[in-house]
């Protein structure tokens, strides 16, 4: 921390200082309660209650039109159906996994490398940074449209250059990869930015010490810089996992998540705003998503809380 005395600024685990709060007058106490309660109600009503309801609904069969008493409770039937007879489920899981692995292997590694390269005095470094993170401000759905200029069968650049006739977005064997390249275009800049910020905070003296010791570029990176970036690596892992689990926008604009582009996020939406509304079934899919993400959310929160306590 800074040199300023902060007598009660932090909660020390075990014995939080409670003296200050007692001094608050009735009006101030009301203010504090309102300041927290209004935002809290909003987040409870629109995130936590729905999350809970998703779990409840996942044990029922409901087309969503009738009242709540038209729900037919079927136990774990939905989950059973999903893993046994729902044809889109396992492809979707597989695609989300490929998505995850790809994001890690290509854009994340590339973003990290670019960050390391840019983190030195280089002419036009700012220009390069801008080039890499400009796609980050674009929406993923929009990126799907922009890449159509490369991927279109009749009007796409790729087919024109190579004289091929491939429908990059349409062919179920390759459209996932086409989509991943487009997504990776955006993701790389994001990761670069996060690492770049992290690298700036690496103490310059550490590098110098390594240089004086005669450590090479690569060695310095792995032994000095990489360990310092540990907390950032953690955040990047969580971001990548959550992003690949959430994948939705780009596949939805292409073909609503069908025909080679099945992902879990799109399957949930199909069961609500598709031809058939199957709320229970869709909820069960949603709960599966929630379970996977909760593992990583917990990891992330533990990381944050550790920092908070230490702070």
């Amino acid at each position: 921390m800074t040199g300023i005395e902060l007598p009660q600024s932090k909660e020390s685990p075990g014995a939080p200082p409670r003296g200050r709060e007692k001094k608050l007058g009735a009006r101030d106490r009301f203010t504090v309660i309102m300041m927290v309660t209004i935002p809290l109600l909003l987040v409870l009503a629109l995130v936590w209650v729905p999350a809970l309801l998703s779990v409840v609904l996942s044990f029922g069969k409901w087309n969503g039109f009738g009242d709540l008493d038209t729900i037919e409770w079927v136990g774990v039937q939905n989950y059973h159906d999903i893993v046994t007879i729902y044809p889109a489920f396992w492809p979707a899981i597989q695609h989300n996994l490929i998505w995850l692995v790809f994001l890690f292997l290509v854009p994340t590694v590339l973003g990290m490398l670019i960050a390391v390269l840019l983190d030195r005095e280089m002419r036009g470094s700012r220009f390069y940074q801008t080039a890499f993170y400009m796609p980050v401000v674009l929406s993923v759905a929009l990126i799907g449209f922009i890449w159509q200029l490369f991927y279109s069968r009749d009007q796409g650049l790729i087919n024109e250059v190579f004289g091929t006739q491939v429908d990059w977005y349409g062919d179920p064997d390759i459209n996932l990869w086409a989509v991943l390249v487009a997504t990776g275009w955006r993701h790389t800049g994001y990761i670069m930015l996060i690492y770049l910020a992290g690298l700036k905070s690496v103490d310059a003296s550490l590098r110098e010490a390594a240089a004086v010791d005669g450590a090479g570029e690569v060695k310095t990176f792995f032994h000095v810089i990489f360990p310092v970036m540990r907390p950032i690596n953690m955040i990047v892992i969580v971001i990548v996992v959550i992003e690949s689990l959430r994948a939705f926008d780009i596949v939805w604009v292409i073909n609503k998540g069908r025909n080679g582009l099945e992902v879990i996020g799109a399957l949930v939406a199909q069961n609500v705003i598709g031809e058939a509304t199957r709320y229970g079934f869709g909820s069960a899919l949603a709960v599966i998503m929630m379970l996977i993400s909760s593992v990583f959310i917990t990891l992330y929160l533990r990381n944050v809380f550790r920092e908070e306590r230490r702070g």
Partner: protein
């Protein structure tokens, strides 16, 4: 190094802070030898051009006639026109959709910043037992996949009646209010986290003297803390404008009335059932990208520090 989030130190573009830190680190050209430095520069430059290419390609072809590119191929040059923009603007009805996007984005961002700054203030100013749990409730909400909440939210919104002057759909579904509320609920976690970290770096003495002057908690928040966290608010506002403007999932599922869709979703209007004119789509894409690109270039510094605020702690 402090464990607090300190925006000046996290900015990739060196400002005042860099002046004191950078030269000793890199005065001798870093640890790179000169020839290797050139190789690295060339590699980075090539990569950067590759990264710019998709947008440039869209930009160039948005100004070309479809008939010309069909006859001569995309690798040719010529057929310049602005008619794609005119046609895209009218066929996509972007005037209306831009208005929709603004009507959702601006209130949502203001509401998010206001609500989360209040929570952040309480979390930073007081040390209650529930502080950490509270932060967890907001932050985790930010990370949950939105699809996981879709069904209950969708159904709830259909049940909530709205008077006609608030939404002609008569319910929260198909109304801008729905998008404003949902976006706010989701984005509050990140903003609360960043703002409370920022507020914790403020010296406590300012509150002590404010208390001596008899300033109420509300006045401490509104007149003391808020002006001091303006840089963080600016960074978050820039980022949130881009995020809410780009938000696609909730807009797709909660808005089914075509005339209420925001910008991105409206791009679909440019695609035909069997045939799509990619030059037209390119013009539409540029139109959709333009507002957020303008914000990005005007407020680049805020944008970058906003993105890195929450992710780099120490």
């Amino acid at each position: 190094m402090s464990t607090q989030t300190r925006p000046p130190a996290t900015e990739p573009t060196p400002s005042g802070d860099g002046a004191t830190r950078k030269p000793p680190k890199r005065a001798d050209g870093g640890v790179l030898s000169k020839p290797r430095g050139i190789v690295v520069t060339v590699i980075v430059a090539l990569l950067a051009l590759t990264w710019l290419f998709p947008l440039l390609w869209a930009l160039v072809n948005s100004f070309r006639e479809y008939d010309y590119t069909q006859a001569n191929g995309y690798l040719s040059l010529g057929g310049w026109t602005t008619s794609n923009y005119e046609e895209a603007w009218s066929r996509g009805n972007f005037g209306l959709h831009l208005r929709n996007s603004l009507l959702v984005t601006i209130p949502a961002v203001l509401l998010t910043l206001w609500l989360s700054s209040m929570v952040a203030f309480v979390l930073a100013r007081f040390s209650y037992r529930f502080n950490l749990m509270m932060l967890g409730v907001f932050l985790a909400a930010n990370l949950l996949p939105p699809q996981a909440l879709l069904i209950p939210v969708f159904r709830m919104f259909r049940e909530v009646p709205l008077p006609m002057f608030m939404s002609d759909s008569g319910s929260l579904l198909n109304s801008f209010w729905a998008l404003i509320l949902v976006n706010t609920a989701f984005q509050m976690g990140f903003c609360t986290f960043v703002l409370s970290n920022y507020m914790k770096t403020l010296p406590r003495e300012i509150y002590e003297s404010a208390e001596l002057d008899g300033a109420s908690v509300w006045r401490q928040y509104w007149q003391l803390t808020m002006p001091l966290v303006r840089p963080a608010l600016a960074a978050l506002a820039t980022l949130q404008v881009a995020w809410v403007y780009n938000e696609f999932f909730w807009a797709t599922v909660l808005i089914q009335q075509g005339n209420k869709l925001p910008m991105t979703s409206a791009l679909n209007n440019l695609r035909g059932q069997f045939f799509t004119d990619t030059n037209l789509v390119a013009a539409g894409s540029i139109i959709v990208a333009l507002p957020v690109l303008v914000v990005f270039f005007a407020l680049q510094k805020q944008f970058v520090s906003g993105l890195t605020l929450g992710s780099t702690k120490g």
